[in-house]
């Protein structure tokens, strides 16, 4: 077991990237991701990490550099947030279609406007369909573990896809937490050497990123979709082997106190831990409430979700992003469509809250549960989605 350190989560993330022995870091600083990049540049400058740190002039260039370096077979890292992700958008899609195993930490933050530097899930939802493997973490330890996990999965020969680790901005990035580092043996055991599936090499000419004429484009997209779907067994395997190495276990869909529950919160990201406190409080009052936490966002864990929701009466799905004029938050619309064909599917009540850094306390979760109960009794009108805590 590695040492246990009290450290800011951003710095721990950079230390994990160092332990993963990356070859190239290309990133542009943006709040609240800045400390990760800053610390990585220090590690490279101090000779602690033998890597190229490429200080690019924009996020668009950052992801472009990442595509190039990954294509030549270098283990590549970047991280960004919000507007930075928006600026790199077109290359994010290209990285996935070229099947380049880049790892990116996204310090989740709202998108302008109004201008906000604070945390919600608007940024990641703007690239929901970009073809990356996307996971959410809840605390600093999970960030550290998932850097190793991300490279392990991304570089697996039968996957070869980029992986995005979503960590809530400020709530995680700027928090000081006790983190258990991995030791070198654990990293060595878990993370094999990077052997790229395709590699730009003068001795073995290959074209990457050729255009696709109409006669072949649909086939290329089907192949990409199948690759993402087929990555799930490797993802599950990587989590199970992570448990063997460091003793912590992760699953695509995790549950909390779901035994005997009739109603379950569905949450994603760091406020899942807050929701657990609300579950404890409601359970102590004798209410049959549990919790479902989504860890894997893409490929979406349909089977796992159907499995854990079987027998439940109601889901209280809480989103931290808006689909303007749409069917509700992105998480709830995914869950509604996943359960649509199920017999006796639970009803879904969708709340949108925690936008751009507004706190969501255990009391808020309890209030949302109570409002969902009122809706189910018909005393309050059932709506497709409700803005929790908005001033009317």
């Amino acid at each position: 077991m590695g040492k246990r350190v009290g450290i800011e989560v951003s710095l721990a993330a950079a230390e994990a990237v160092k332990m993963a022995d990356v070859d190239v870091v290309a990133a542009y600083p943006i709040t609240p991701q800045t400390h990760i990049v800053e610390h990585l540049s220090e590690l490279v400058a101090d000779g602690e990490l033998d890597a190229e740190f490429i200080p690019v002039e924009s996020e668009h260039s950052a992801m472009s550099v990442c595509c190039g370096s990954s294509a030549v077979g270098a283990r590549t890292f970047t991280c960004t947030s919000s507007q930075g992700l928006a600026l790199m958008n077109e290359i994010v899609f290209i990285a996935a279609s070229l099947r380049l195993p880049i790892v990116m930490i996204l310090a989740n933050r709202s998108l302008s406007g109004p201008l906000s530097i604070w945390n919600d899930h608007t940024d990641v939802m703007s690239v929901r369909d970009c073809g990356w493997i996307q996971v959410f973490v809840e605390n600093g330890q999970e960030v550290f573990d998932h850097v190793m996990f991300a490279y392990r999965v991304a570089e697996a020969a039968n996957v070869s896809l980029p992986v995005m680790i979503n960590m809530d901005g400020f709530i995680l990035t700027h928090m000081i937490e006790p983190i258990e580092y991995w030791d070198e043996d654990q990293v060595k055991k878990y993370l094999p050497e990077f052997k790229p599936v395709n590699q730009l090499h003068p001795d073995r000419p290959v074209t990457m990123g050729a255009f696709g004429m109409p006669f072949i484009f649909t086939e290329t997209k089907k192949a990409q979709d199948e690759a993402l779907i087929a990555s799930k067994p490797e993802i599950v395997k990587a989590w199970s082997e992570l448990h063997e190495v460091v003793g912590r276990s992760y699953k695509p869909v995790e549950t909390y106190r779901l035994d005997g529950a009739e109603v379950a919160y569905v949450t994603m990201g760091s406020f899942s831990e807050t929701a657990s406190l609300a579950v404890d409080e409601l359970r102590s009052q004798g209410k049959p409430v549990g919790q479902i936490r989504l860890r894997l966002w893409r490929p979406f864990p349909f089977e796992e979700l159907r499995e854990v929701t079987r027998g439940l009466k109601r889901l209280v799905v809480i989103d931290r992003a808006i689909s303007f004029g749409g069917p509700g938050g992105p998480v709830s619309s995914e869950i509604r469509s996943a359960l649509y064909e199920e017999e006796h599917a639970p009803s879904v009540t969708n709340f949108i809250c925690g936008l751009a850094g507004r706190d969501v306390s255990p009391d808020d979760f309890i209030a949302m549960y109570q409002q969902a109960e009122e809706m189910s009794r018909g005393t309050v009108r059932q709506e497709d989605y409700v803005y929790h805590g908005v001033r009317e």
Partner: protein, 97 residues
Amino acid sequence: MAKIDEELTWQDLEVGCAVSNAGNACAYKTGDWRSLRPIVNTDHCIRCGVCYIFCPDMAIQKTADGFFEADLFYCKGCGICAQECITGCITMVQEEE
């Protein structure tokens, strides 16, 4: 590639749609972009080769008897050969004619 392009299924594609048979541009038929086709009147052709020099696609080949003709697999019908021809012996005609 064993299959011709139109028969390729999604399972046939390489990871990330990489193309590992390098130098395959010659297999790309650009001739079907064409709406006009160059016709050479050999009575007026002086076999100078200006069309050959100016063709941006190197689609014009020298024939055994010293004339020049466009390979219609590649010729896009841009008309530069007709524009540059010293004697005006190249005419662009509609494909359907």
